[in-house]
Structures are given as structure tokens and as C-alpha cells.
Symmetry: D2
Subunit: 462 residues, 4 copies
């Protein structure tokens, strides 16, 4: 039988949300008051990556469908490499499983050294999935040996925190890269059977007004955040309006039926060139079967549901739609300010039923859901509906450094800063985003032609 990526976890285990014991970390240890909470999160995070891979065959885990995407197996190895490289090797007391992994699984850290070419990750068959899982065990065990009893320095704690968040970011990429990979197969393979979430009553579209003034943007640094969310700083916002929910498939189809993809007047120049060059006629994963639009999902091909937010659109499409609608996209600051002022109590990762961990555990189709009337029961009237953890929302803001931003010293300084060019900020998190990353200050960024993330549209206007 072909190897399955997870070790032993069955579907029921996943559904409960209660990760099963593995031999390296017993539950007693987890309960141990001396046990480090961060290491506990480490263990859960590591296990969750493998749970994502669990339904997949060795072959599924091997595909690289485009240079921007990576094979699942590479994600499993690279996230492991991160802990090995930035935590274990510096201890001076660690022997790597295989020294050649240093370059093989280095994504882009020039400070660490050479990197195996990014666009050729799909050509590496060894270490295979089984050996990769052994590599994970090996590093996990070393992590326990070195850090299992709470003896982390502050610096190590900081790197460990980054490593956990790093692996969580890759969990989202595992899902989106996989979706792209499977979509290349005309057989429409299913990652996991599942139905999309049902919603009784759609939220009616309306505008939320925001007054002019100086707003504060960015993370306050009191809990973990990425360097690019810092420092919190002041911006001046002229008055603006922002939509109370994201654009739906129904609305987007109106744009399409109005010749949206055929009329250059709605498009950025680069966007129009891209539409022509790639022959785009609809969002990614859509295809028309007879008179009916369908979309490829992680649960196979399904009919388009009109009330769901449109998804897998590029910045170019988001911008063109907005222009067609006589609106524009919000800036990052407008978006962040609007979300934060609409929040009546602190956002907590656990509060929403459809954020990613739960979604993955739930067995539903991993896909954005419609924005219901009561997106959150306690939401203020002017709260932004489906802002968080449903679809990433393109902003009109180029991904640039905040005033006073400093990249960390050393290799981890390459984490964010060097990508601040020709990419645009996305806010809010998607149905595939790990809960902990769904916060208003989080800055996701992709090139304007990218469509393989769960990306949608929220309108604004002046």
C-alpha cells in the first residue's frame, strides 16, 4: 500500500480536534506544569502539519505544479529544516541526520548558504515521504532533548515562536499548493470529501462610513507578531467607506457577464496584458460545463454557489471588478482601521466556528463560506462581515516597510523584508489560515497575478 503522510491518525482523531499521542511526547508530559507551553504548541503544530498530509499518497506529496508552489513533502521537510537550522545547530550539540539537507531544504536564506533551485523541488524523490517523516521524528526528538524541559533562553524562545508560526504559514501553503497541484489532473481528484458550509440568510450589502483622522496601525508587540507588522505607527486617513461584506460569486458573475474580461477599460495595464497572455475568462479553478460554472475545490469539482464570496481572484481581477463597480479597493490602513474599530471585544483565535484548524478538523470542504446575517452575534452594526478567516482580501497597498521597520539581524532578517517589492498586501486570513494568524495586523503579500491562495474582494470608496 502506498504510504500515507500521517503516521497513525485516522479521520476520527482529526474530527475531535484532539491530537493523538505520539511516542515522543506523552500526554503526561504535556500536563506537566514544568512543561513549556511553547514546546507544547510546538508539538501540536508539528502534528497538525502531518495531519494535513495524512489523506495524501506519496505521489500527491511529490508534485510541484508551478515554481511558486512546493510539494507537500518539501513543506514537511523545510519546516523541519527551519528548527534544525535556527535552533538545533546553534546549540553546538546536534548532529544533523543528513548534512546535505542543509542546502536541499533551504528555501531562500542566502545567509545560510546555497539553496537547491526553487523551481526544481518537484524533481527530488529522496528523501521520500517515509524518510521525510523520519526526519521530522529525528528533529522532534532532538527538540525534546534540548528544549523539552523549559530550558529555553529568550533568544531561543523567540526563534521557536517564529518557527512555530513559520510552520503554520506553511500549513496554509500546503493546502493551497496542493489544491493547485491536484487541479492539474483532469480527473479532479479529491483531497477530502466534504460539503461547503450552509448559510440561511445572506448579509445585505451596505457601506460603513469611517471619518477622517489619525489612526494607529500595526501590531503593539505585546504578543507574537512578525517583524513586518511593526512598529505600530500613525497614519492619516481621509474619510472613506468600506463594504460590510466581501463580493459574492453572484456579483462577480455580473461583472463577467458585462464583459469584464473583455473590456480593457476596467484593467490596470499589466492586468490587461496578463488577461490576454493567460487567456483568463474567470477566476482560477472555474470552468464552464455546458451553461453552468463549476469550481475545483479540495473536495473535488462543485457547482458555483452564488452567495459565497468570490475566491481565487488576482489583484488584477479584484481591482478591475472594483473599477467596474465604480469603487476601489481599500488601502491596508483603511482595512485595518475599519476592522479594529468594529471589534467590540478582543479577537480570539477560538471564537469563530469557521477558522481554519476547526475547519480542517470539521470535515467540511475547505472553502470560504457565505457571509451570514449574524457573522458574529456580538458584532456591532458597523462591523465588517466575513473580514477574518474566510477569504484574504486584496488591498491596494503595496507591501512596504512600516516607518521605523527594522529587519532582524542575521538569517531571520531575510524572512520578510527582502520581499517588499511588486507584491500587494492581503488582509484578514482565509478559510485555510491557521487561527493564530487571523489578526487584523497580519500582513500577507502576493504578486498581483497570483490566484492560488483563497483571495477575494472587499470594496471601498471615497
Amino acid at each position: 500500500m502506498a504510504a500515507k503522510a500521517g503516521t497513525d491518525g485516522g479521520a476520527d482523531t482529526i474530527a475531535t480536534g484532539d491530537p493523538p499521542a505520539v511516542d515522543l511526547v506523552d500526554d503526561a508530559a504535556v500536563a506537566d506544569p514544568h512543561h513549556d507551553v511553547l514546546m507544547e504548541r510546538y508539538v501540536r503544530t508539528r502534528r497538525f502539519s502531518e495531519q494535513i498530509a495524512q489523506p495524501l499518497s506519496a505521489e500527491d506529496c511529490s508534485i510541484q505544479s508551478m515554481p511558486d508552489a512546493s510539494p507537500t513533502r518539501w513543506h514537511l521537510a523545510h519546516t523541519t529544516w527551519f528548527f534544525e537550522t535556527f535552533l538545533l545547530k546553534p546549540t553546538g550539540d546536534y548532529r544533523p541526520l543528513d548534512p546535505s539537507f542543509e542546502s536541499l531544504f533551504n528555501s531562500y536564506y542566502n545567509s545560510v548558504g546555497e539553496q537547491y533551485p526553487r523551481d526544481k523541488r518537484g524533481l527530488i524523490s529522496r528523501p521520500d515521504l517515509e524518510q521525510t517523516l523520519l526526519y521530522r521524528r529525528y528533529v522532534d526528538q532532538a527538540m525534546q532533548t534540548h528544549f523539552g524541559c523549559g530550558e529555553l533562553t529568550d533568544d531561543q524562545r523567540q526563534v521557536l515562536e517564529i518557527g512555530i508560526n513559520h510552520e503554520q504559514q506553511h500549513q496554509e501553503l500546503m493546502l493551497t499548493d496542493l489544491k493547485h497541484a491536484l487541479s492539474c489532473n483532469p480527473l479532479d481528484p479529491v483531497y477530502r470529501e466534504g460539503e461547503c458550509e450552509h448559510v440561511d440568510t445572506m448579509r445585505t450589502s451596505s457601506w460603513i462610513d469611517v471619518d477622517a483622522g489619525v489612526a494607529k496601525i500595526g501590531h503593539d508587540g505585546k504578543s507574537f507578531c512578525f517583524d513586518n507588522e511593526l512598529p505600530r505607527h500613525r497614519v492619516f486617513l481621509e474619510p472613506y467607506k468600506i463594504a460590510n461584506r466581501c463580493v459574492t460569486n453572484r456579483e462577480y458573475l455580473e461583472f463577467m457577464e458585462d464583459g469584464g474580461y473583455q473590456r480593457p477599460e476596467f484593467w490596470l495595464s499589466l492586468g490587461w496584458a496578463t488577461v490576454q497572455d493567460k487567456g483568463w475568462e474567470a477566476p482560477l479553478y472555474w470552468s464552464k460545463q455546458g451553461s453552468r460554472w463549476t469550481q475545483f475545490t479540495l473536495s473535488g469539482r462543485k457547482a458555483i454557489r452564488l452567495d459565497q464570496p468570490v475566491c481565487h481572484v488576482s489583484y488584477f481581477e479584484a481591482d478591475a471588478y472594483a473599477r467596474w463597480a465604480g469603487c476601489r479597493l481599500a488601502t491596508e490602513a483603511e482595512w485595518e482601521h475599519a476592522v479594529c474599530r468594529g471589534l467590540q471585544r478582543p479577537l480570539a483565535a477560538t471564537q469563530s466556528g469557521h477558522w481554519s484548524d476547526d475547519l480542517i478538523r470539521s470535515g467540511r470542504c475547505i472553502h470560504p463560506s457565505s457571509c451570514s446575517v449574524a457573522d458574529r452575534e456580538d458584532a456591532a452594526d458597523d462591523a465588517l462581515g466575513d473580514a477574518m478567516g474566510n477569504v484574504w482580501q486584496w488591498t491596494s497597498s503595496h507591501y512596504s516597510a512600516y516607518p521605523g521597520y527594522r529587519a532582524p539581524a542575521g538569517a531571520l532578517g531575510e524572512y520578510n523584508g527582502k520581499f517588499m517589492c511588486n507584491v500587494f498586501v492581503l488582509k484578514g486570513g482565509s478559510c485555510a489560515t491557521p487561527s493564530g494568524h487571523v489578526r487584523p495586523t497580519y500582513r500577507n503579500f502576493f504578486a498581483p497575478e497570483s490566484r492560488w491562495q483563497f483571495t477575494g474582494i472587499r470594496l471601498a470608496k471615497t
Copy 2:
């Protein structure tokens, strides 16, 4: 003898700055109090384009050295097409010289119709230079017939103003595109003999401090500006420092000698990929002859002068240099605010001796000059030296719409708005920028890998 681009103007005419009479517009008409001042500027602008082309052969005017650049002859025709298309045709009382020019010289206006492919402009030999100059005469005459006696409507006046500014923008491009074209010839051809400006005492480098606060940015709209400079709006600026002059060749050479082009840690990820891909080792037009760096100029190949501002660097190089120097580039708002607050009296186009029209008339080498102690005699101590009309200065700001920006209706709405993607703002104007465009609110924009404009570096820090 091969045709020369100018009609009859000799070098002396250019040196005096006094454009010669052409038969279509006699000086009496210019002196006529009923004559429209705008039409007078039209005539002078049209004449100046031809003066730029005057030293060139028919062959020189034909080359397209890269898709981003255009042949001189195309510039001469396209700027003419602009008036024909947006002013003459709408009168309903104009017969075009050749209907096929409508698409042949349409640069990118989808609203007007089809366009001859941009990257193939060098393949068009007809209309040749002589016929192109006739096309100019034909349109100039029609302009006089229609608008020579001041009967312009407000709308027409607005389009005429844009058309003049449009042609002036192309005057700068004529020089920079030509420089690139000639540089492809191993014979190092000379556009026009000329020496670089000499400066006795370099300005010492220092930092100008700017306090935090709300600043106003953008054009006030009281005189002509492009749509992208509007609307004037408020921004909040955290405190920053900005350099009192641009980075010199001497300073940039230190970066190069410190391995600047070999060390990825200074570079944006895309920048480093570009350096590798294109084999960059120095700014554009530089080449090392023995142990000595030289640069190709519009007056042929010359030795690098250490006190001159470094020029023909990409955004990637500007950013890498700044990182190497422990600094950063200024944002557009920081730059504009710093320049405006340092100005003791209103900037006027005529006040500086080295702005472009004069430079072209002066017979000097068209090249940035060193920043002297007294860049402007009346400048405040904290004025930015060589900010205006010497080298374009890369800012860290992506070229995006100002809050409340609206593209004009119709084809002219394609002028600026649709290019707001993956390009960065440059400020200040260069030695090749027409005087009237050298204003603090002007927003020039180029892709981060572009190097063929006269682009340099001004540092900032927090």
C-alpha cells in the same frame, strides 16, 4: 545627404535658446496680443521636440533598442497623433493626413482602438523622418487653423495643456531612449559634443531632521498638474532624517568595492535575482577600461567624475546601496514634504541654470552635475541640495492613487491611472526633464529594474 531631424535650425540657434521662425507661425503672430499664450507654448514645445532631434540622422531616429524605449521618429509622430486624436478629430472638421496613423501611432489608448505592437516600433520605416516632419507640419497647421485665434473651449484648453505636457514628457524620453539606443553601438556614438558642468566646491553631506506631524502632499490644482498629483491630501509622517544631497559616484564606488553587487544581504529578493540574471556589476552605461571606470553619455564615453551624483541606477540598486549604508530610501511623502518646507520662495521653472531646456540649449553634456555648496543661493540651511532637475530620486513608495484620486473620463483616463502597478515613484526631475515638470508634486514612475532614465539616490533614515 541623410535627412536631419530639425528643419533648418543650426547649432547656433539652439545655443541662443531662441527658436528660429518656421513658416507656419511667424513671430508677429506670437507677439499678437490676441494670440493665445497656450498656443504660443504649443508652438515652442513642438519646435523644441524637433530641435532635440536635429543633430540626428534618419537612422538614429529609427532605432528601438528595447520594448520600453521608442525610436525618436516614433516620438515625433506619436506626440503629433495626440493632438490630432484628442483635439482635431473631435472638432468634426478635420481630415487626417493618413487614417492608418490612428492605430500606427496610438501608444496604449485602448479607448481609441487598436495599437501597433509597442515592441515593434523599430520595424516601421514609413512614414520616414521627412514624412513624419511633414505630418507634424500638417497637424501644426491644422492646430493653427482651428485654435490659432484663441477660440478654445475650456475642455479644449485642458486637453491642449495636457498635450503640451505630454509632448514635453516625450522630450525627456527622446533623450533617454536615444541614449540607450546609441549605447548599443560599440562605436560609442556622440549625440552632441559637450563637457559636463564643473563645480568648485562639493556640498558636504549631512542629515536634515524633520519632525513628526500631519503634512499636506499633492498638488493644489491652482496651475496645471497631472491627474495623479491630485488630490492634495493629508498624510502623517513619523519623524525622519533626509540627506542634504544625492549619493555621489565616489560613495557608490565604495559600495561596489565593498562587494555590493556580490552580497545578497543588501538586496531585495527580486533585486538579487535581477543582478544574477543580468550580470549587473555597475550602474548602466558604466564600463571598466583597464582599472578605470567610464560611462557612456550623450556626448560619448567619458571618465567617471567622482563628485557627480551616481546615475542610471535601478530601484534595486538604490535600495541595496541604502541598506549597505545603514539607511533607507525616503517615501514619496517624506521627500515631497522635505523639499517643500525647505523652499523659501515659490519654485519657478526658470530660476535654475541647469534645468533641462537650458541645458539642451547650453551645449553642455546632458548629464547630472555635482551638487555645489550653493546649490541655490537663497536656499535655507536645511534645504535639500540637488533635489530638483539633476537626477530623479527613487523613493520607496509604490506608485498608487492618492486618496480621492479619480482618473478623467474617456481615453485620457488611461494616461496615468492604469499604470499604478509594480512601479515606484521618482521625484525631483533630472537634467533631461523639461523645466515645467520640475516641481515637488510631480510623480514619475518606473519599474524597479529600470535604469535608462537619469535616476539616482537620496538617502533617508528614521
Copy 3:
């Protein structure tokens, strides 16, 4: 444990050369006098493909390292598709396992219909290896049901024969494509441990003289051959000399050390452009480690052995070497005539110890061996040494139709004829060529830049 491609065959089974029983075909049936000999060969051929894949993981079987190469799993499926499409479906009494395989595993038969894009075969993870092996079983069973008792028509017999030969051709490709795939991994993975064959005494190089005259070339059609070997026809050969063995690594290294890869005078114009473009400095798979050349083999990285024939060179390199040596390559007719006249008794597939099936069964490294004094004990003095089944020998002949050639009607007409453009003929078979294909009239063909087959050099001169 990750799936292995073979069902149950262990290494010992392979070493004995005695294929193990599988449940679909019992040995009794094979021994049955009523059993069709062709179906017997079918069974053995099918089994041998799986034996080739047997040492590989599911991941190894998934890689497509370049558009010209295919994943092992694809080869396993496509060869199955061939029988399904051209034998089973026409019976009208066959239900395909999955109708979507018709286009998914169609290589290039436009007459059959659409084809999944060739360069994306590595993006297909499903059917996975296990399911692919089931697909093979399914088709094998249907083949038994339909044709297991000798009831084949002549047409069916002919297609079956082609199908078997087709699968054998893919067996060679499985090995060469796999070698290329594994070579992309910096870990130098081993397909199968094995030593290269040892030879005591090298054959001394000498020239064989052949007189002018009309020779007969091409297959006589009395046994199976491909359409492109027909018809046998007359050619006139001017007198020539041909080398008695292939060029060795030692000889090729002299060329390299004499600046062979740096001196354009030896190269075809396209060859020199290729050398520059791809940065070739040695044959494919060679790399210099310190002062010592090594080569990647199917048994991992090994030192270059000087007496072995040089291998994995392109037509360009073969031609350049020949020019450097003051010689030339033989034409196809010269080669074929020289081989045929030197044969004292009919070539039989089984007579040579190092032809491919045996080689694979032997457990030696699948690599060309040195040409010993007694290449064949019964060889005439003027016999060509190592002509057959060691390295493919590039000829100077473009792959063109023989006079009177007719492609078969229907889809099988696409088998050979449509590739007669910009490819050159290779003769003799390599260490990876199935024995039955090692015949003097066989016409292999590859583009002049191809290097991933076991291709070497035999010199000729006028």
C-alpha cells in the same frame, strides 16, 4: 512503507532472470502448447517493465525532470494504454477501467484524440503507483481473456507485436529517463548498486576499409521490424573507413584537455550556440570533483573509467570530437553496411553477455563496458567492436524516410513517420536497449542536443 513498483519480485528473482509467477498467468498456461508464443512474450515483456520499476519508490516513479522525459509511472500506464487502445477497444467487447485514461495516457496520437500535455506528466499524482499497477493487471487480464487462447487475427497479431516492441522501447526510456530524474538530486541516489563490467585487455584502435559499391540497407521484413526500417533498398557508398571500436573516455578527455569545449572551430554553428547557452564543459552526468572526473550512473556517482566508451554525448559533441580528430561520423548506410558485412553468422538476441535484459538481471551497473580484444570470439578481424548493445552510435544521417517508405494507415501511422525532422539516426543499441531491438537495421533517432540516452561516438573517414 512506501509502495515498491514491482509486486512481489525480490532482487534474487531479478538476478536469476526467471520471472516470478503472477496470479494472472500461471506457468502451466505458459507451458501449454496451445498457448500463443506472442502472448507469452507479451506476459514476459509486461512483467519485465515492472521489474525495472521494482527498486523504485512511489516518489521515484513520479518525477518528470524535463519535457522529453517521462515519469516511470507514466511509462507503466502509457504502455498499458497502448494495448487497451489499439487492441482491446477495437474488439468492441471491452469496458475501460477509467475512460479518462484515454487522453491522460495518450502520448502523441492525434488520431486517437486529445492528449494531456506532455510536459506536465509529472503533475499527475493519480492514478498513483498502486492504482497504475492495478490498471496494468486489469488490462493484462483483459488481454488474456480476449487473446489468451491464440485466437488472434493477423491484424491483431501485428498490433500485438508492435505493442510488445513499443513497451520494450519504453523499458529503455524508463531507465534513461529515471537516470536523468535521479541525477537532479544532489544526493546522487542509487537506482541499484552494481559494479561496472571489468575488461582485461582493450581492443586497439584501427580502421576498417570498405570498398565502394551498391549496398543494400534496411530490413528484409522477414521478421518483425518497425515501419521506418523498410523497405530494404539500394544505396551507393563511396569508399570509406570506419573505426573498429567506439571512442573511449581517455580519448575524449584529450579532446576536452585540448580545449574542445572552448574552440568554436570544431563545432557546428548550432552546436556551438548550444555549448554557450547551456555551459557544457563535459558529457552529461560528468562532474569534476577536485582534479578527478566522476560520472553519475544508475549505481550512483563513480569515477570515470578511461577505457570505457564515452557516453551521454550529444550529436554536437560527437561531431565536434570527430572534427577535432580529423575524422567524421559515419552515415547510417555506412554504419549498417559495415556491421552487416562483418557478421559471420546471424545476430541473435541472446548471444551477447552484456545486452540489456541480461544486464538488468545480472545486477551489474547499467553502463557501457569497455571494448575487449575479444568482443565476440567468432568475430572476423574486420568486425566492428562494441557495435551492438553497448552505446548508441550517432550517425551523420538525418532521420528520413527510406525510398518507398509508407507509414501504416490509421493511428499507428503516427508511430514513426511524423518525427522525421531535425533528428539524427543512432545505430547499434546501448546497454539499456532490450536485446530484441539490437539489430543492425534498427533506427533510433534523437535531436542533436539530446544527451540523456547512452550515446557514444564511432569515427569514420573517407
Copy 4:
């Protein structure tokens, strides 16, 4: 006025075929019995190149429309460079006009040194047309000084002969490259007004039978030929049939209307890929205006004439047409043998009214003419109609060395031999081929996708 390429020759001069005097060579010298006949041909050949360029503007002479084509001005300079490099410099008594021309106008001679990149020839504006003509004068004068009185050594005589033939080859390229360049202009520019030749009665299509046997192919070397035509050698030809005239537009349109460009079964695999990739639907220069096919010619756009031979087809199209017609293309040997046996008296360059020099002088449209009943009055019944000097005829033969071929030593060895890869032989010469090159043994060669020469189709079958 823009420069014209010819110095002083008017249209009448061209029409008379009597080249006008230029100051470097007076007619007295030409009449001088001591004057070398070869130098006389030199002068006439040089003059004729300029006559070809005479109707062109400086701009027309500057365009490079694709890497395979060159600007007229480059042709004028490169042919001059040839004499300078291979005849004048070796005298040791020659000072070049500009040393940098050595690399600037070197086409592909690695033995001479560096070459300016072939695909950038259109970026060189200097030397301009006027200076290029001066360069021609300078070299012509030096040629007279050195060789004007018959003091040529045998080696020099041989190189001079090659140089003259080389320039004549470029004369054909000047016309075909120019046609391609002008065709990129939507204005359909006219090189020279002219009507296509009229023919009263088309030759009826029939087959000429040729028996099997050993034939002799290649040039006998008694007069000038290129190295690639040597040595004359024996080939065996199986019996074949060859068409008595070329395929007409009428016949080719039947292929098109039968779905020729939409049905893969007629095409080589590479050919079909090319059709798809480039969107071919007709021969080059054809476009459908309404329901009517037109073609771009050197005299502008004209209606397709059904009786004319189809022209500007690639090898792929020729081969596909032949397959559609149930035929094939002839091999080079079949073609040459068929032509030679049908000739009743020696071919002389002057005998045919429509060969190129005359055509150019005649003022007719430079385009193939229909094949009349009496193609040549003295032709045997089985002579091939329109075989010579009308359209190049694609053969199925790859361009390979003849048995015993030796490239000359030194740089001139690069003339032909190094291009023997991935190109196919064309025979017969076209309406643009200089008369002296229209001989049965001449071997023209182009890549199978090339269409910009005057290339047509002659059918054969077995």
C-alpha cells in the same frame, strides 16, 4: 531629402541593365584588355547591390525584422567587410577605414574574432547609409588599387570569386529580408511598383518517370561552385516520379479548404507544433480581406493569382501539402538528377527571361511567375517546368556533407560546413536569385520553419 541608397542611378539606368559610371571605375578601365574579367564582375556586382538598395530610404535600409534577417545597410556593409577582411587585410598593405568594423560587420566567422550580436543589427545607426556607401567606395578603391591591374594570385582570385558570389547571395537576402521588414508595416509599403508576369497558357500537370540506377550528383568543379556542391559523387536512385511543374496557388488553396491547416494527420510533429504555436493558416504574406486572399509583395499588396506557384511556404507546409496530395517531396538527388537529364543544352545564366537580374532590371514585380506551356522552347517533353529561377523547391533532404566533402582551411571553412544541422536543402533558385546561382547543383538551405524566402513545392512519388 532622405538619403537614397544608390548614389546616382535612376530607374532608367536599372531598366537598361547598363550600370552607370561611378568615379572609381571608369568605363575605359573596364574596356581595357588588360583589365581582369573577375574585377569587372566585382565592379558590376558591387554596383548591383547598390542598385537594389536604390529605391529605399535610409529608414528602410535600417530595419531588422527578425533575428534571421538583416538590415539592407548591414548587407551593404558586411559584403564590403568580406573583401576587406579576406582580401585586403591579408595584403599587409591596407589601412582599414575604421578598425571597429572588423567585429561590427563580422557575421559569424569565429576565426576572425568577436561578432556584434546577430539579433541586434537593427540597433546600429552608425555608420549610417551615407557613411556605409562611403565605406563601400573606400574598399572598392582599395580593391582597384590592389587588384585592378590583374595582379591577383590564384588564392586571391579564388577568394575574390567567393566574395563576388557571397555578395550575390546577399543580394537575394537583401530582397527577401526587405520584403519581410516592409511586411511588418500595416501600411503595406511598396519597394517598387510593378506587375506580375502574365502567362497565356498554364502547363498541365503531369508526372515524369525516372528509372532506377546510379546517378552522379554534385558539381564537376570545372567552374566556380561552393564547397558544399563538392565532390561530385555517385548515388543510387530507386525509380521515382517527379512533377513537371510546381504546385500552384489554386492547388494549395484546395489543401487549405480541405482543412489542411487544421488536420494534424498531414503534418510532421514539429510542423504541427509550429502551426499551433504561430497560428499559421496560410502561407506567409497571405491575408484574407473579406472572402478574398491577398498577398504582400515587393510591389505592395496584391490579389492571389491562382496559376502562380505557391510561394513563401515552409518545409512543414510543403511536406504537409505533399502528404495531403498522396505524394512526397523529392530528395535532393532525385531533383538534381531529374533536372540534369532533362536539359538538352548546357544551362547558361543568360538564357531565361525571368531570372533575377533581368527581373530586377525589368521593373516587373519581383515574384514567381506561372509556369507556361513553353517554359523553355528547347525543353524536352520530360523537362521539369519552372525548375530554375522561379521558386526555391524544398527537398526532403537534410543539408549534409557530400561524401568526401572537405571544408576549406581557415575562416572560409566556416562558410558552409558549420550550418549542416537541422536545415533542409532547397533547389533551383527563385525569382530573386542572381542568375549565376541558378544551377542544378546549387544547394540552398533553410530551417524547416522558414518562410521568408521565395520557397515553393514540387511533388514527387515512388
